[in-house]
């Protein structure tokens, strides 16, 4: 087990450094810098103001030096300062990370509950109207762009029905902050979760169909077990392995989808922060966020491996 963990850690570090280097290169290759974003041509900045600001922000140093400086600081836990807000990046990220984790976490829970439920029903009632309806909605949710779906949800459930807030994570002066946040969370997490659920439903259905007619399932039924026990205790466990793989594979898409959903719903998480940072060429913040996302993906991959070993005793870690 120790050897396995060291191996995974080594892989994770390689991925993190490689990702940071790629992100840095792409940000460098893009024309302009943070000072250009802060002072566009129409800002009539005083003569030399841009040069002075570049000097203050260390942007005049060669790119390799800036990257190595950033890497050595990051290795000690110092993510540096945002070029635009001048605030410590670690502080910025820690403020926003829980908000994104709430969104992604609930979206994941919603998608898993939905996909397992509808996937089981569709598999059991194969070729019935329920199966066709499930298939239709799966393709429907997959086909709609997240941006449009978000706006549609806002229009129907916030503007027309006034059931949920149209934006933000909190309301000013809320009496119960916890309930208020939960109320705000429903629409965006549902929007994000539906898209993933649609894809997972298809996999769940297909995976379950494969095991439904297996010999051990026939044996379980022959033992007199109720059908729902046969499906959940015997069938679903084996059907879950490929589903876990798909979930782990789709998690980065969930996180990238969060950028769109956070923009539509003005959900103040890392996705919105990344969008603003990229637009403003705030490269230290962009790189820190890219690292944060990479860490989440690496950790989720590890968690998926652990989940395999729980679901299938034949799989051992290390």
């Amino acid at each position: 087990m120790t050897g396995y963990l060291i191996n995974r850690l080594f892989h994770a570090l390689t991925i993190l450094i490689g990702t940071s280097m790629l992100v840095f290169i792409f940000v460098e290759l893009a024309p302009g810098d943070a000072v250009d974003a802060m002072m566009p041509p129409e800002s009539f900045a005083a003569e030399g103001a841009k040069d002075r600001m570049r000097e203050q922000l260390g942007l005049n140093d060669p790119a390799p030096i800036r990257y190595v400086r950033w890497l050595s600081r990051t290795a000690t836990g110092d993510l540096g300062y945002s070029l635009t807000s001048r605030k410590p990046i670690s502080e910025i990220i820690m403020k926003r990370l829980p908000t994104t984790l709430q969104l992604v976490g609930f979206a994941l829970i919603i998608s898993i509950v939905l996909c397992v439920t509808t996937g089981i029903i569709a598999a059991i009632r194969q070729y019935s109207w329920i199966d066709y309806l499930t298939t239709f909605f799966s393709f429907f949710w997959i086909s709609i762009p997240g941006f449009f779906l978000g706006l549609l949800m806002i229009y129907i459930f916030a503007v027309r029905l006034n059931w949920f807030p149209a934006f933000g994570a909190t309301s000013a002066g809320a009496e119960n902050p916890f309930l208020d946040r939960a109320h705000h969370l429903i629409l965006p997490s549902l929007t994000l979760g539906l898209e993933l659920a649609a894809a997972l439903t298809r996999y769940t259905r297909a995976s379950l169909l494969e095991v439904l007619h297996a010999d051990y399932m026939r044996t379980a039924r022959a033992k007199g077990l109720k059908e729902w026990v046969v499906i959940t205790r015997h069938g679903l466990k084996n059907a879950l392995i490929p589903i876990i793989t798909v979930i782990a594979f789709r998690l980065p898409y969930l996180i990238s989808g969060a950028v769109i959903i956070e923009t539509v719903f003005q959900w103040p998480g890392l996705g919105l922060l990344l969008l603003n940072a990229a637009t403003q060429k705030d490269y230290p913040l962009v790189m820190a966020l890219a690292l944060a996302v990479t860490v989440v993906v690496v950790v989720s991959s590890f968690v998926a491996d652990l989940a395999y070993s729980i679901v299938d005793p034949r799989i051992r870690i290390g």
Binding site: P41, A49, I92, P165
Partner: protein
Amino acid sequence: MVDARLITLGADLQGFVGDLAESWDVADITATFKPRQNAKWHDGTPVTAKDIVFTLNVLTNPATTSRWGGAFKSVVGYTEAQTATSPTALSGITAPDDYTVQIDLTQADSGLLADFFFINIIPEHILGAVDRTKIAEEAFWSNGRIGAGPFKFVKLIEGERLELEANPDYHFSEPVISKLNLLFFANFETTLAAFQQGPSLISPMSVNELELVQGIEGAEIVTTPAGVAAIWVNNNQPEFSDKRARQAIAYAIDKKTITETLWLGDADPVSTEIPYVTWAQPADANPYNFDPEKAKSLLAEVGWDSSISFKLWYYYADQVTATVMEAVQQYLAAVGITVDLQFDDGSGVRTKEVEDGTWYLTYGSFGTQPAPSNLSVVCGPPGKKNFTYSSAEFDAEIAAALLTYDQAEQATHSQAAVKILNEDAPWIWLFDRKNLIAVHTDKLTTGTTPAFGPGHFMFHNHAFDWTVTE
């Protein structure tokens, strides 16, 4: 809402309004300001002359890289301060007593007062000891900001809103509204949804949403000046160095039809800068009415090569602008000018072209310029590098306008300056745009005096007497 200025402009752009300044006098080479004695910072400290002196010295210090420092070039000591090896206060800015600020000028400057519209006064007792090179990094600016405006900072919820509360010591009067939240949106559609649903009482909008907003119960639409939209032309490019080529662009575009059909009347066709400053407009300015045949003949005179295409940048992301650009492209194509539309998404490509001088055409706006004196920034030396216009005649007329306080003389020189721009057509002025703002007037009352003005400089919104009904 949080900050205060020395003087502002009314939201209708007519007449100066004293904010922190109770009175002022500008005569010859001396400007004197008398701050209000009842003005206080949000922490209770009185606002005094030393805060104003401090603010102006911070702005003019090159270490702070402020974009407004150059507005005070005519102040005694400015030139020396730019080359000093350590931060230097301008000798021409003094506080003879706690409630008098005196600014000594090297020459008359009738544009001085208009510069104050852009400047918030900052507290000397909080920022006075901060290293000038690091002043922009202070947490003060984003968290715990202390101003002297009608509303006090409560908290910033990043990515969501800025919460403010009434300042009971506000120098005009305590605001009627006790709490005010400024909401942040990354997405225009969500902004409107929040307005439709109700929590947002004021929302930006465009002409595309006219029908939608008109259908919202209790909503009204307010228009405010937004600035003149123009096609900036790189006069250094050989194809556009001859003014006849630039004039051809002006004649080729049917501004009237575009304002009627695409802007739906929420813009006016213009052919000069600052058209709303009526006393600065020459009576004989060329309106450049739509005349494609005239455009073609001008192009023929300069030997125009219609096989070459030019990039036409634009940076407004709204759909109306995109449609206007397509219309402009077609009008130009009809006379033999081929343009490729290019949207500037902030990637820096356009900035690079501007810095390299390789750009050709850009559609944009300088925003509402509150006074003709601002033309010296927009069309004079500060803008030369980026906007390529250079006219000694124009510079002389603007300089002459700045050197006199006599309104009639200012008008004569300002009109002459605007006429030069109109004839030279260094840029093609097209539309005096209006910003549209949706307001829930069933819940929010802002009084009879205009409260909404241009977004890029400080105007007197008298927010202290706004009222809200639940």
